[in-house]
Assembly symmetry: C2
Homo-oligomer: 151 residues x 2
């Protein structure tokens, strides 16, 4: 018996169309997690989880990640208050990616530079020498400098 | 002069809030691309692009990927007709992930097992020995065996 158990990877057809969770972690032990707003459907961020972070997420209903830059567990919102309450977790056919539908706590922003979504810029036209980006969110939810000071 | 040029990675603040596309490709030369339905916002798949695949996507307006399993370029829909017309490409704060908003051609499915989205299953409760999956799409758009025969 165990509360949060992942099954061993099985036959291709079982992985792709079966009813057992058999997540595939990459050579760094990670699986990609696309995070979307449960209300609007907008993509908020892309994070990475190891097996333990995924277990904590399922167990607590709040999103945990593995920070590749800090090489440590990272409960989203632990310091910022932007906790992600997880409503649904989907997996794809080969079970090497997840989608988390969440509600964001605190001030409602997800991006550490202050925007609602980390995907706040779109690829725009080229100016002839470089591809440019254009903001799709007009204003930030908050100014991180006001909260954390200059970084 | 060049039509599709990516700028070299710059200062953190320039990458995170600037107006130049400076994609970060990982140690395999890849960047993750979350693909969403431009109409519904639903996440359809997660693919990976190298620099050339991203250039082809921007240039042609149709999505190209790098297939990690086949180690080759992969124009989505080339054989299935499920071509992805790209309406918008977003990048995140650290520019190591993309979101593509697309319209799917052909029969409208994205998943090779026949569903509209590759994320057609959600993580359900545990049965006490393993986490189970439950379908969120009731029916497949098509049966791949009808098209390609038994694999």
């Amino acid at each position: 018996m165990c509360d949060i158990c992942f099954s061993e990877r099985g036959e291709k057809s079982v992985v792709e169309t079966g009813d057992l969770l058999m997540p595939k972690f990459d050579h760094d032990g990670l699986i990609a997690a696309v995070v979307t707003d449960a209300g609007t459907g907008d993509v908020l961020m892309l994070g990475y989880m190891n097996a333990e972070a995924l277990k904590r997420t399922i167990e607590t209903g709040e999103a945990w990640y593995w920070s590749r830059s800090r090489q440590s567990y990272w409960k989203k919102g632990e310091t910022s208050g932007q906790v992600q309450k997880v409503h649904q977790i989907l997996t794809d056919c080969d079970q090497d990616a997840l989608v988390l539908k969440v509600t964001v706590g605190g001030n409602g922003a997800t991006c550490h530079v202050g925007y609602r979504s980390c995907f706040f810029r779109e690829i725009d036209a080229t100016d002839g020498s470089a591809m440019k980006l254009k903001k799709v969110e007009a204003d930030r939810v908050y100014d991180p400098e006001d909260v954390y000071g200059k970084s």
